[in-house]
Each structure stands twice: as structure tokens, then as C-alpha cells.
Symmetry: C2
Subunit: 491 residues, 2 copies
């Protein structure tokens, strides 16, 4: 059992925590920083794994997946780390499966195949959401003129009140499941508006067009972002398998105790872990009331990914982009209500190795999770075959990752806010409490829930820490950079 002293202890070696460390050291390399990671690896909610291909193996992402040019914070980091992007393949037919009959329709534009009324309905709701989202103040979402009202209704209620057609509503439902991994009934519409606002608009969240969230994958995968940062920082700064149990603070000193018995004393702590994990720590004195209250109402969403590698890009050969938006269709397994998938994309690697990536989220994941491994795979293949035929069964490799199984994460992509708690949102997530600062993508004000948000939040926490420990190193420009506006020339 060791007892060490540091300037800054960062808890969590995901993109956010590592960004914090990197930023602080860029301003003062003499500051003594340690990063405590509960698991045996860096990367948090990113994970890149090798999968079999026709002639060997290649790397694919089982966690965070895409970036886009409007995500300035991650774009800059990628440039600094020398990581290249790879355009998401979007050419060709897309499939849509919604409606009571679960019929599969194809379309080629960005506009799904719905009835004219359905399209009008969809266009109208997207404009409504964007228009409200534009009015949201990230620093105080409930300050909106309809703040209390919007936080007291679920997303489901909001869509029921504002949409006419069941097919377009179902499309929205699938999109929300695909974007934040929750059911419409579980989340406050004000939270969703705040999430949309942080992304600069709803289309940025749901499309794969230029500048949106699904514009590029990364050559070599997203895990390398953290791996490269860790290497740059020096592996000796990171303590693996070191879950934190408690933090106590007293004036300007914080004491971090780990399950191992190791103790780390420091001037500053940065919590770069999701709120559901912060809630498990014993913190003395207790965190402020609003933080405690917020975390009670922030369950982690349900999100899993499935990767399948193939010999041929057979979907492209029949003119398909590989993109599917689906309610899952009828389930092939009697234990599930629907087929498991909500979104499918072409995930052919930068090296040209064909692959599909599919998402299982929300209640469909809760059901799918309870199946046996062979049943899970079978139901994914059955669901995929609705769109791409029997070719789907000719996969070379199959991998799945349900983030709820990660003991120190508990789900993906984000902890969402249930109704009635948004009044605690910004101060609960971002305000420091004495020596304790908060990072993590949930606490981002730009691209919350994304890797870019992880960087922005990590940098913001680093700036807060520097303003206390090394104020002379922080310039007005640094603060401005952290709150960079969206870049989206297409608008």
C-alpha cells in the first residue's frame, strides 16, 4: 500500500481524463499528475479490436465510432495525434423499417421513404426540436421560457403531443434509441433539447452527411486516441486496475483512497468518469446537494454494438449503402418483442476490409441481453437478413460489445437525465466542489455524449484546475477555444 503526493489526481483514463492531463501538462509540464484507471486499459467508452478478415485481421471499433468536422475539439486532437479519418460510406440505397406491418422500404436521398404526410410530420417535428434547441442555454437549460414544462414531460409525451403520424413518430423513436440509447419514455424532452443544442442541431446527430456526427470513422479505430495520449503522457503516469473507493477533501488537500489500499494525496482531483460511477464513490464532505440530486436522476443508457466482417461488400454490389434505420422488425426469438437492431451502417475499414456495424439499444438491448450468446447472434443475423438477404450469414468474424457489462462504465453512450432533474444540470455537472473538478463527456457543453465532448469537458476541467494552480498559464484565448462555436458551412 503506497501513499503518494501529486498536484493533480485524474480519475478515469478515457479520452476526457487523458485530455485533461494533456492540457494541464501542455501548460506546465512540471505539474505532477497521476491518472487512476479502474480497468486494465485506457480508452473508457472506446475500444478497438482486431477481427478476422479474408486475408488476416483488421481493426474495428466496438465503442465510440464516428467523428465529424463540426466536432472541432476532437478534430484538433486528431490532427495533433496524427490520426487520419476515413469517410463513412453512404452511397446507394438505404433501408427504412417502421410501421405496424414492419415493411422494409428503400430510399436513396437523405429523406426516408415515408408517406407525404409522414414526411411533413417529420420535417415539422425536426424543425420544432431544432428551433427549441436553439433557445437552450447550456449553462442553465431550465431558464428557458418553457423550461419547467419541458422538463416535466417525457420525450414520448412531447412527440405524442406534436406529431400526427405513427410511422414518422416511430422513426423518431428509432433515431433517439440509436442516438442516446434510451426509450422515449425514459428521458426528459428538455434533456434531449439540451443534447441537440450541444450538437448544433438534430441533423448533426442523426445524419452521416458532411460535418455531422457520422461523417468519418478513424483509420485504425478510436481506441488509439487514448493509447496515443497515454504514450505521450508516459505510461508511468497511469495506474491501472486502481479503482477508487473514496475521496476526502480538507481545505486545499484531497485524499483519494483506492480499493487496493493505495492512497493518493493531491491539490486537485478531476473526476473524468460518468455520473453513475461518481455516485458510487464515498466523498467527504459530500458533494453539493444539486450534484447528488442530479446523479440520482441520471441513469446510464443501454447501447451495444455488433460487428460483422465479410469477404465481399455484397450490399454495395446490389446498390445498397449498408445503412438501415429499423424498429428491428418482428423478432425471431420469442423472448424478445422486436428484432434487436435499430441502426446498421457499412463499416468497411480504411484498408478495404468489408464489414457491417449494427446497433442494439434501449429496451431492445435489455431484452437481447437476456438471450444466450448463440440466440443473440442468430437474432442479429435474422434481422440483418431482412435487408441484405442470406449473404449476411456468410460473415467471417462476429463481435459484440454490450457496454452495460463494463463494471466501471455501466452502459453507453451517456448517462441521460430523466424528467424533473434538469434544474440541477449545468451546475451539477460542471461546477467544481472545492478541490474536486468534473470532466467526462456528460459534462460537456459542446457535443455532449461524444468523443468531442469528452475532449471539451476534459479541457474545461483542466482550465479550471490551472486557473487555481497556475493562473498565469491560462489566456483569454484558451477560454474562448474551449467554447468554440460550431463550424458547419453546409448550413
Amino acid at each position: 500500500m503506497s501513499n503518494e503526493e501529486y498536484d493533480v489526481v485524474i480519475i478515469g483514463a478515457g479520452i476526457s481524463g487523458l485530455s485533461s492531463a494533456r492540457y494541464i501538462l501542455s501548460k506546465d509540464p512540471h505539474l505532477n499528475i497521476v491518472i487512476l484507471e479502474a480497468s486494465d486499459r485506457v480508452g473508457g467508452r472506446t475500444l478497438t479490436v482486431p477481427l478476422k478478415t479474408e486475408n488476416g485481421t483488421d481493426d474495428w471499433d466496438l465503442g465510440a465510432h464516428w467523428i465529424g468536422r463540426s466536432q472541432t475539439h476532437i478534430m484538433e486532437l486528431l490532427e495533433e495525434l496524427g490520426i487520419e479519418t476515413h469517410q463513412q460510406y453512404v452511397t446507394g440505397k438505404k433501408y427504412l423499417q417502421v410501421g405496424k406491418d414492419n415493411s422494409v422500404r428503400s430510399y436513396t436521398s437523405d429523406i426516408p421513404t415515408l408517406s407525404l404526410l409522414g414526411l411533413l410530420d417529420l420535417d415539422r417535428i425536426m424543425k420544432k426540436i431544432d428551433s427549441l434547441a436553439k433557445e437552450i442555454d447550456q449553462q442553465n437549460p431550465t431558464n428557458h421560457r418553457r423550461g419547467h414544462e419541458l422538463d416535466s414531460i417525457t420525450m414520448e409525451t412531447y412527440l405524442n403531443q406534436n406529431m400526427w403520424m405513427s410511422e414518422s413518430k416511430e422513426l423518431m423513436e428509432v433515431a433517439i434509441r440509436g442516438v442516446i440509447g434510451v426509450e422515449l419514455s425514459q428521458v426528459s424532452i428538455l434533456y434531449f433539447l439540451t443534447y441537440v443544442s450541444a450538437a448544433g442541431g438534430l441533423k448533426n446527430l442523426v445524419e452521416s452527411t458532411p460535418y455531422t456526427a457520422q461523417e468519418y470513422t478513424l483509420k485504425g479505430g478510436c481506441h488509439q486516441i487514448s493509447i496515443k495520449m497515454a504514450k505521450e503522457l508516459g505510461e508511468s503516469r497511469i495506474k491501472y486496475n486502481e479503482p477508487v473507493v473514496s475521496i476526502s477533501q480538507n481545505k486545499n488537500i484531497a485524499t483519494v483512497k483506492c480499493e487496493s489500499g493505495n492512497i493518493y494525496q493531491c491539490k486537485k482531483v478531476i473526476l473524468a468518469i460518468p455520473p453513475n460511477q461518481i455516485a458510487k464513490l464515498k466523498i467527504e464532505p459530500r458533494l453539493p446537494v444539486v450534484k447528488r440530486e442530479l446523479y440520482k436522476h441520471m441513469p446510464m443508457a443501454n447501447y451495444a454494438k455488433v460487428l460483422l466482417t465479410y469477404k465481399k461488400v455484397y450490399w454495395r454490389e446490389s446498390g445498397c449503402s449498408g445503412e438501415v434505420v429499423t424498429n428491428g422488425g418482428p423478432s425471431s426469438n420469442t423472448k424478445c418483442k422486436y428484432g434487436p437492431l435499430c441502426l446498421v451502417f457499412d463499416d468497411t475499414s480504411a484498408n478495404g476490409n468489408p464489414a457491417l456495424v449494427a446497433f442494439v439499444a434501449g429496451q431492445q438491448l435489455v431484452e437481447w441481453r437476456q438471450l444466450e450468446a448463440n440466440e443473440r447472434k442468430e437474432s442479429v443475423l435474422k434481422c440483418l437478413s431482412q435487408f441484405f438477404g442470406d449473404d449476411v450469414y456468410k460473415y467471417i468474424d462476429y463481435a459484440e460489445k454490450d457496454w452495460e457489462e463494463e463494471p466501471y462504465v455501466g452502459g453507453a453512450p451517456v448517462c441521460c437525465v430523466a424528467p424533473g432533474a434538469m434544474k440541477y444540470y449545468a451546475s451539477g455537472l460542471r461546477e467544481p466542489d472545492g478541490c474536486i473538478h468534473l470532466a467526462g463527456t456528460e459534462s460537456a457543453s459542446i457535443w455532449t455524449g461524444y468523443m468531442s465532448g469528452a475532449v471539451q469537458a476534459g479541457t474545461r476541467a483542466a482550465i479550471q484546475v490551472l486557473l487555481d494552480l497556475r493562473p498565469q498559464t491560462v489566456s483569454a484565448q484558451d477560454l474562448k477555444n474551449n467554447n468554440k462555436p460550431f463550424i458547419n458551412p453546409s448550413k
Copy 2:
């Protein structure tokens, strides 16, 4: 560090856990039972403390407070333990404070002073809620014909959709805050209907008339229920200051590890702690998916009590019952939006020592909690003075208890279910998982959230355990008794 073996390890020495132990031993006194309690006392969410009176001290409840004759499980237990009841004083004027002008109105019947339309509105919504609640199947609430719909809307949405008048809606809001400690926006209406159903009707929850939940206090307080059970069981069976860290189970053996390092091996574990506390334990293999998912959506409510003792029952002298239902009125403290109180009752002890009990709940408690101790007291007195004048300041003793501060409880009266999670409710709360059984008032199917529910759930868990360990001791009548129907001759 000890390593001991038992037949049954019960975690939590509240009314539920102690009822489990008592029931099991009543069937087979040779079963070897230990009760692990994280705090230094029995009683869970009950706590009776001595307060100063004119001529010495007397005992009052700072936790669970009332019982009623329709609560058959606790009534029987009280009889067996020889604990006497004391009728709640309800004679005289009552006060109601709702509406934009926060005006204080008085009334003497059970029917609050509202406009005629307001009364019709209130009557109508109460009938609607009762009528829906009657249709709820405790074993599967989402099986209701409107199950999904009702679980996708907050209580606030439901009342907005079904009430006409803001004053009657506000009265409902105050009542919900007073009954379950949450804001209307934070809870699924289906959860509330299930809660009402478990109490046999809305009036049973909100009134102080015969057979309702506020019919009697207990002579000597509620804490003695657990103290007497503990004495009967033998203090040696209870391990205090023994917080559990992890449970692992392997076939028919469970291993319970404590913060102290002590290890308890057993055939059965009964978790008699609230879901928010279960969620903090490391359990291997993990609890079933539906339990994990449910607990993510079950934040503990916010509930505090304030006790004031007096020389004289001055409110009775001016014809008042002491009962107040209030939105809190304008706050006397700029940090709070409203005055802190929602409900006030006469709490004169069975020995005739005058007292008032007042409740602070929901968002008002979140605000009040952040004040300094003197500010908290000042705002309570100011709020009370709106109804009872300056006499309120002549208190002999003042005590308050905010249950959120209890580290192994985290709030009161219950963990409520946020929208979108009721599909996991009954199986999540009551079905055993291998060696692990679940008690605690949250898991009750009759009088959920009340002491009676704690007994019913504790007994149900005990019956489950006995059916596995000593099946010959359980009769059909035992099962029937555990599901006793409501007794309410007034209906």
C-alpha cells in the same frame, strides 16, 4: 476478520429485515440467522428521539410515523409486540394554502376549501386515479390495458391532461409531495397508480380518517417496533456497523463480504435494504437484467421531518386541528422559491405533551437542505406562523431529520420509479435470484412504502426462503395471510 457460516444472512435491520428473521425463526427456531446492519442501530427508516417537554422529555418519531387499521400486517405485529396505538388528533379547523396568491383558507370537514369547480375537479381526478388503480395488477403493472402509455407519462403530464383548475392541481401536487416525497415531474403515473393500488385507494394515502394511513401514531414511537423485535430475536444475532460490500453466490452457497473484512457464508441472503442501496453492492454473478435496469430508474425520494414541542396545545385552543396542507407559501429565505413545508399535523404525544410535526419534501427539501441550520429553523417557523401565529416561536424543543443524510438509506419514504421502467417493477423487486431474496418496503405488494409494507415484504421473503430450506413449515394459510385483502369497513 471473521469467517462465519449461517443458514440465512439478512442485510438490513429495519422493520422488513427483522420481520423476515422473526418469521423464519417462528417456523424453525433452529435455523441459524445473522442480521448485518450497516449503521449502529436497528430501525431503518424509523427513528424515535427524546425531545424536551415542559416537565422533562418525551419521545417523538423523526422517521415513519403513522399506521392505520387497514394496514393489517403492521397491526398484527404491533399486537404481538404489545405496542399500543394513539389516535391522530383531527378535530377542528384545518388550513389549506394553495394558489397563486398563497392565501390561507380554513375548513373543518375532510373536504378542502376550494372553489366549486376546484372541488369537482379534485373529486373527479381522485375517482379517476382510484378507478385506474383498482385495475392495476401488482404482479405486473404494465399489463394494464394502458400500461405502456401510463408509464410513459409523468404524474405532472397526467394531471395537466386530466385536471381543469390550477388550485386543485396544486393541491394534488402538495399531496403527492407529502405522500411520496417527489415532484410530479419525476415519477411515472403508472408507478403512482401502483402505489395507490397497494394502499387500497388514494384516500387511504392522504387522509387521517379511520382505517387510513394517518389514523394512529404509536405510544412510545415507531422505533420500538424494531427494538422489540431485535430484543426478541436476541441482540447477538445482529451485527452493527457492518456494511456489506459484496455478495457472491455459487450454487447453493452465498458469500457476503463486509467493509470490515468479515465474511459470512450462508444458504440464503435476504436483502432488506432499499433498491438504491442494493445498486451499490457488488454482486457476483450480477443480479438479473431486469433488476439492474429497474434500480437504475429508482431514485430515492426527498423527505424530512421537523418536530416542535410546546407547553400548550395552543392551536387546539383556537379551534384548530393542527392540520395544514400547504404549498409552503412565499419563502422567507431568498435562496428558496417556496416556504419549506407541505404538511403539518398535531403530534401531541400519548402522554399529552403538545407537539407539531411538519414535513419538508421534494424540491422544497432540496432547496431547504442547502440552508444553514438557523436558516432552516427560521424558515420552518415563519411558514408555520402563517397558520398558527406567533405562538409557533414559543417552542420548547426543535428537531429535524433529513433522511437523505443517512449514508445507508439516502432518503425517504421510498425509492420511486421514474417513467419508462415499470415493466421491470414486480419481477425486479420481488423475484429471488438464486440464493438472494428481496425484502424492504419497496418490494411490498400491499402498502408499499409503509411500515406495513415492510412487514409484508419481509414476511414474503421469509416464506420464499422457508419454501426452499424448510418447505414443510409453510402452509397455504401462510401464503394467504401474506396477501391479506384490505380491511376497510368505512367503504
